[in-house]
Symmetry: C2
Subunit: 698 residues, 2 copies
């Protein structure tokens, strides 16, 4: 079965080579407009400066944790530490290459729109996204396969799966810092630039006079591309590792089950490559359909090949794991559609959304009622996705829980393994889904650059069109991100219980220590959400002060005098510093909390902590992401005339703009951070599990 | 041991008689100002009209549920149904008498301030509150004792403790409806009256021209007095029942443990009576000290007599239950102080609060940053109280978990019983703590009536002083309410596990069905919070429309023309209708959800649901109550000049007013509803437990 790991290594290297070729293809588009070239350069410089500074910080952190891991891990600590470094490095590489490609593709998409029209622009932005998609999928598969290959996962009795968990912990640590840092960066710049530029000075969005505009554009790449890439990378790796640990810890599951997740990752990656290439054939069709179809081709191929492949593998549970995979995919798609229903303006399958009109209506009585409406829509929108996740858990567990038995036997680890498979259903084709996710910000930024460079309405129309299509497809991506986070965290929880060798009766809800863990774990997402929101507020405040200062002190800037330029670099610096300074706290909380609770109160209390953070983490992530999305679209709905008796510029619109600003850190900083928080804590728990005792020190 | 129940019956009847005498004493104060008399009459009429309408609704609901209980309960269903009716009736009586006394005391406090000065006003308002306090404590103790006496709780093996749970379910059902209905009523009136009166028309608060002012004052009584009374009544009863069920279900615990909670309730009630009477001696001292001292006298006496009483009872665990009681009291006080730190303006034990200045500062950049700051303060403020609750659980469990054993034996039910005792530590002296809680709104409303009737600055100064003292004391009360809700819910969870006969391994966190329950349970507080917030928004909207109409259509109203009066009754009607219409949804969710999950997915899934709702319910309740309180005080801090560079009437103050309005439903409707939600679901689970199976239908 080691052959599969080897094949996966080769395929992922091929995939990474293709990503490199696509990058070359993107950069081969010439930028012959000097303003576009200049802005592209500034954004690229700002983004790279941030990444370099961030990686310097992270290098210290990663080094310290690696040393600690070496000492904490009971056997072969150096291997766990090595795997941890590998996971961190792979995540950094994925983020870096995606960012490099995205910042290169932004301006070139605008150029392609000018020279070749829509099909050309679509191809450039899609390929820009594909570099990210294929890097994330390829590096994830490569890393896990190498760990499995060298450390001999599941091949004999000597396996030490903790090494694989170490790889996941490296990836998750980087992911949390990237998400939090990127989220603070982008929202500080966004909120700051808007508050002074749009509200106070009354100049349009993306106006080149605004010193915060470059930082805002850098932020889009830092937050939406690099942050999201690290996030998805971590989910992909986490779901594979969870399944491997569960299989490895069970005496009922043979080595096939340890390697199966790698096999599925391999098939998913191959299917993604085909999906990505199909864009070449589809690019002249309607762009929305083209985007969707590349995803469908990837997913369909994955299902079919996976089904037959598992048949050939001749597992003792037959093709049941694939049933769980398919359940997971369907749940992910449905969560995406529900999200769309609560946060979107358009009908979803003929159902008229009620949330956005409600918020729009409540905006008429002012910002307070707008805020109350947005908050309640966000809270209400958690329910159906939670029920869908429950269906996913129920279904995946139901079809696998009898294991290879006759149906009368009950083997809980198979059911839990099924849940990890359902998560894989949302993540195996990450190569193509992430491509579409990363395409969105590229198209969005292309529009911004076109605006700043004055490329004209035709170009802007094309980029706006590409952007709006990206938004709908992104909703499905969000559903996958949230659904897979919940299922992966649950699978990691099962992996932790297995790794800590906890008996069922030791993680009983009626044990006071488990309840204490549950309560503390439940509180942590509130704490991290509070920290990240406060950070955005503080950083935005600094940005406001600086932009106000420039408008006041730089003669002729606000009037648009020829040759007078804002000091954009200063704003970039402010965002960078704030993001780096503020990302430390939440990251430390996420890593320290499970360690303290695990050692002080014992392994069962840590199990409680993981379960508690899973519950409130998923709920708060849904609440914050959806409230933010709904506020954003309620504002757009007023601007587009969807709300009777309200229009751009009136009091209702002002109220909606305030709601949108409240929602900024909700949807782009705090909400997404929580998805990673729960997985990072789970994987830290898996790594330290062997060192824990049942009673703890207290 | 049945003697104790009998003594409790007698003592509670005596206490209720004293409450009646205090009511007579309050009403003996003459109202000789015609305006005060008129307003008092209007408020009393409005409040009674609402209560009557509410009770008509509830009568139908209670009747239907009683019939269902009769059929669902396995043995002696008629007794459970009867106990349920008794619990509902007792709760209604407690709410009704408290409301009657409070509405009578409001205007009379203002009169006493005018005629007798501060001491007289303090006595009237305190006695007004004491009617509520003694009714809640007396009716709770009476009801539980009667149930124990007639159904023979714990006296022999034939006990059916489900009947006692039925009583609790009756109390909890009424409590949820009263809290939700009252909360919607008061906030609809408050938000509506403020938005049109203060913001649009620019007239002061409590101005008699505002048609919404009477409804607002009625709302204060309906929400803060009747709603809170039903809430505390339910907590008190719930904690006693939880302990009784745990003791009754254990083979290691003898009948003493079943009756012990009634004994403690009895001692606490007697101590409360002494505390309440001590006001007679203290009323001429500094009012803040007087209030605190009545509470301390009650609590101290309870500790001392309880300690010796338990010694005389000669339990096989010695006085250990009393240790748990004291831990509970201390935790409750500390939670109150932390709440004060996060939401107050004044130093707490020399610590300078940072939250309010932060929100004040962030108000300067507008409503969006004010809202973000308030939300993050609310989220952050959950952490320390949760840790304190965990300490309470840990301590109470730690001291009792060995039971009467030598210390090496582990008897989990004793630890869980200890947690119920800790809850009792916060609730046994409810007679006096509730008195102080109810005193606050009386003093507050006395101020409003003084304002409306033009009684002059001297009177207003006295009532304002009494009001502000009430606020500080109320913080401790809030700490008790939240802390006891968490511990009671946890104890009820243990009671449910015992009643459903669930083994430890059946409620394991790694069971997918338990996790499904956990997720659904976790989502319910979000759903109920969303429903109640939406309801307030809708009802406030109706109120706004009506007040605008009156200002427009009633000639001379806004100008204050002699003899022109607003149609206050219409506004009272709107609030009443909205409250009644909107309270149904959340109430039904709370009762139906555990029934559906319990029967469909089985008893372990329902255990998961209870644990999930406990975690998010407590967190959301803390988050919403504290965010609301912080927004409120940030506005006051600006008004009182505590925030440099901001003052009443400027943009920062406007932003703070918006934050305060967002916080209104947070702190007075949704937040408090969640405390009851989790307990109601738990007690419904206890009642249906014997009818459930492990696997459920699915």
């Amino acid at each position: 079965m080691m052959d599969i790991a080897l094949i996966a290594v080769i395929v992922s290297l091929v995939g990474l080579a293709i990503a490199a070729l696509l990058y070359k293809k993107v950069t081969s588009v010439e930028i012959d407009d000097p303003t576009v070239a200049d802005i592209t350069q500034q954004i690229q410089d700002g983004a790279m400066a941030f990444l370099k500074a961030e990686y310097r910080y992270l290098a210290i952190f990663v080094g310290v944790v690696a040393v600690l891991l070496y000492f904490v891990t009971e056997t072969d600590g150096h291997l766990t530490a090595l795997a941890f470094l590998g996971g961190a490095l792979a995540s950094v590489l994925a983020g870096f290459s995606g960012m490099k490609a995205a910042t290169a593709a932004n301006g070139r998409t605008a150029m392609a729109a000018q020279k070749e029209g829509q099909a050309g622009a679509l191809a450039v932005s899609y390929n820009g996204g594909a570099v990210m998609g294929l890097s994330v999928g390829g590096l994830g598969l490569l890393g896990i396969s190498l760990v499995a290959f060298f450390f001999g996962a599941g091949d004999d009795g000597s396996t030490n799966i903790t090494h694989a968990a170490g790889f996941g912990m490296g990836a998750s640590s980087i992911a949390l810092f990237a998400r939090v840092g990127g989220g603070i960066y982008t929202k500080a710049a966004d909120v700051g630039a808007d508050l002074v530029g749009k509200v106070e000075a009354g100049i349009p969005e993306d106006d080149p006079r605004n010193p915060g505009v470059i930082a805002d554009n850098v932020g889009d790449n830092v937050g939406d591309v690099a942050g999201m890439g690290a996030d998805i990378f971590e989910s992909f790796v986490g779901s594979i590792i969870a399944a491997m640990v569960i299989a490895d810890s069970s005496t009922n599951m043979n080595a096939d089950y340890v390697i199966l997740p790698i096999f599925l990752g391999l098939v998913g990656y191959l299917a993604s490559l085909v999906g990505v290439f199909s864009m070449e054939l589809l690019k002249n069709s309607e762009p929305g359909a083209a985007l969707r179809n590349t995803t469908f081709i990837g997913a369909g191929l994955f299902w079919v090949v996976g089904w037959f492949g598992i048949g050939i593998m001749d597992l003792d549970t037959g093709t049941e794991p694939m049933v769980a995979v398919i359940i997971g995919s369907i749940v992910g798609i449905l969560i995406g559609l529900v999200t769309e229903y609560y946060t979107g303006i358009e009908d979803v399958f003929g159902l008229k959304p009620k949330a956005i009109p409600h918020i729009g209506e409540m905006s008429k009585t002012g910002p307070a009622t707008n805020a109350i409406a947005g908050l309640s829509v966000g809270m209400m929108s958690t329910f159906i996705p939670i029920i869908l996740i429950c269906f996913g858990i129920f279904g995946a567990n139901h079809f696998m829980m009898d294991g290879p038995g006759s149906g009368s036997e009950y083997m809980p680890e198979f059911g839990l393994y099924g849940i990890a498979m359902a998560a894989m259903g949302m993540l195996a084709t990450v190569g193509v889904t992430m491509t579409v996710d990363a395409y969105g910000p590229v198209a969005d930024n292309a529009g911004g650059i076109a605006e700043m460079s004055g490329l004209g309405k035709d170009v802007r129309d094309i980029t706006d069109g590409l952007d709006s299509i990206g938004n709908t497809t992104a909703a499905i991506g969000k559903g996958f991100a949230i659904g897979s986070a919940a299922l992966t965290a649950l699978a990691l929880f099962a992996a932790y219980s297995a790794a800590a060798d906890l008996k069922l009766s030791q993680v009983a809800l009626s044990d006071p220590k488990v309840v204490i863990g549950l309560l503390i774990g439940g509180a942590l997402p509130f704490v991290v959400a509070a920290m990240t929101m406060t950070s955005v507020g503080k950083a935005a405040n600094e940005m406001v002060t600086e932009i106000r200062r420039q408008f006041k002190e730089i003669d002729g800037l606000l009037e648009g005098k020829e040759g007078v330029k804002p000091d954009s670099a200063k704003c970039v610096q402010i965002s960078t510093d704030a993001a780096l300074r503020e990302m430390v706290g939440p990251g430390v909380v996420a890593i320290i909390a499970p360690v303290i609770v695990g050692f002080a109160l014992g392994a069962p209390a840590l199990a409680g902590l993981l379960a508690g953070s899973l519950v409130t983490g998923v709920l708060m992530a849904l609440f914050m992401a959806n409230a933010g999305g709904a506020w954003d679209n309620a504002k757009k709905a007023i601007e587009q005339g969807h709300i009777e008796g309200a229009e751009k510029g009136d009091a209702a619109h002002d109220a909606a703009v305030i709601g949108d600003t409240i929602g900024d850190p909700f949807k782009d900083t705090s909400g997404p951070s929580l998805n990673i928080l729960i997985k990072l804590m789970s994987i830290v728990a898996v790594v330290i599990a062997p060192a824990l005792t049942v009673t703890g020190w207290l």
